[in-house]
Amino acid sequence: MALTTEEVNKIAYLARLGIDEQDVDSYAKELSGILNLVEQMSSVNTEQVTPMAHPMDQVQRLRVDEVTEGDQRELFQAQAPDVEAGLYLVPKVID
């Protein structure tokens, strides 16, 4: 399984991940290598096997529906690159 540079660019776009134009070829090569490594899975017949999502086969624990977290907006926003009046600022989305 070999990935083309177009496919790498498409995946990078889906992941919103900037990669340098000059590195696309080497990513294509390395990612193809990883896909070849995982390729041996395809020869295993798993028709009757239940997928395993979690080692303990646990179900999501439920809790009483009550508020347990206090408002810590100022504390959390102290880490933000850009805030104003309690809001996170990003470039304009709609013209």
């Binding site: 991940l17 390729e39 239940t50 880490q79």
Partner: protein, 483 residues
Amino acid sequence: MHNQTIAELAKGLQAGEFSSQELTTAHLARIKQHSALNCFITVTEVEALAQAKIADQLISDGKAGPLTGIPLAHKDIFCTQGIKTSCGSKMLDNFQAPYNATVIERFNQAGAVTLGKLNMDEFAMGSSNETSFFGPVKNPWDHSAVPGGSSGGSACAVAARLAVGATGTDTGGSIRQPAAFCGITGLKPTYGRVSRYGMIAFASSLDQGGPMTRTVEDAALMLQTMAGFDSRDSTSVDKPVPDYSKGLNDSLAGLKIGLPKEFFGDNLNTQMAQVVEEAIAEYTRLGAEVVEVSMPNINLSIPAYYIIAPAECSANLSRFDGVRYGHRCEAPEDLNDLYTRSRGEGFGSEVKRRILIGTYALSTGYYDAYYLQAQKIRRLISDDFKKVLSEVDVLMGPVTPTPAFGLGEKSGDPIEMYLSDMYTIAVNLAGLPALSIPAGFVDQKPVGLQIIGNYFEEARLLNVAHRYQQETDWHQQAPAGIE
């Protein structure tokens, strides 16, 4: 003082032979003296001395526990309130966690001292500590070799006696492999045994925190504090925590050890095989019975892991978008540019590779062939373990196919690097506990013995490993220049 174990230091502290402030000061001086090893990303000198002062008060008030006043250090993946928590990445170079991880909280409550935050592969993705934004860590036994990864700073700091014990995390071998490469003891507990709250997520169905120490006895003491149910972690298992120190000396007569034949194939360096076989011979002298077992699907561990871990990582790391915290690019043109450039600049190349593979494996048209198939193979591997662990008490084998490799030797070839984890990954897929203990040397570099147990049988593993350390002195060896 730095050559003493947690158990020995606790006695000295309680007998008033030295204070925690003296002990902490001595370790801070050693950290400075050995800064070329590059173990620490952040040294918290002021906070450590303040914690030591409080610990000394607790000791003189007779309120000390076994970890009170003991200088530890934590992998920089655990959130520490008000202290930089970088996860080895440029993305979080400016991040001061607003809260403590549960593991940190528990050590604080036990009165332990935090010396600082330890270097690691970026977002725990790596097997050599070379993917860290803060530069590689050196192996204290051979400065031209890697310490292993991703908990490379933790393993090196403990081996070099810069911290008495350290925390690590293990997603595919990240506690056991560096412990083996640096000649220390490292335990990866059962999935769900130690809270993951505040432990920055890489692959959530595999990640588990655990102790890294010089002796098994110390690992038991640290695990005692780390383990237990936490309502803030939805995957934490609500099961009583046994006394991990109590059965350490129990007899091993009649212990049934399984040797998976797949662990002793052509990939294993012959000198490594010899060290492991000698360790197993020691167990037969202790009264254990050894049988060969087979786990036919274990060779599929690396393929399944390199779909499951990247898939989960691509989802987990989507939170780093330059909006709420972490790195943000300069002068973004629009929202898409903000996301794309912040992530492109903030992440290193190994993290990018894994995000790309994960995104691909989860994308429309490929999900069944990759992710679903990997989850089915995960079941087959887990069933192999269930079968053999119903026939034997523990499994033993190597931790790594070779001793620590050279800095730069594998960093240009991701696949070569991935293959160095061939003996550790299956345990994470199954969610089982396993540990690594020093069992000898090859080319003057330490070799680890891996011991794998059944779910929640950490106490049994510690007992089996402790008895070996009573008969051997591999764990007491120190790298040259460290004394």
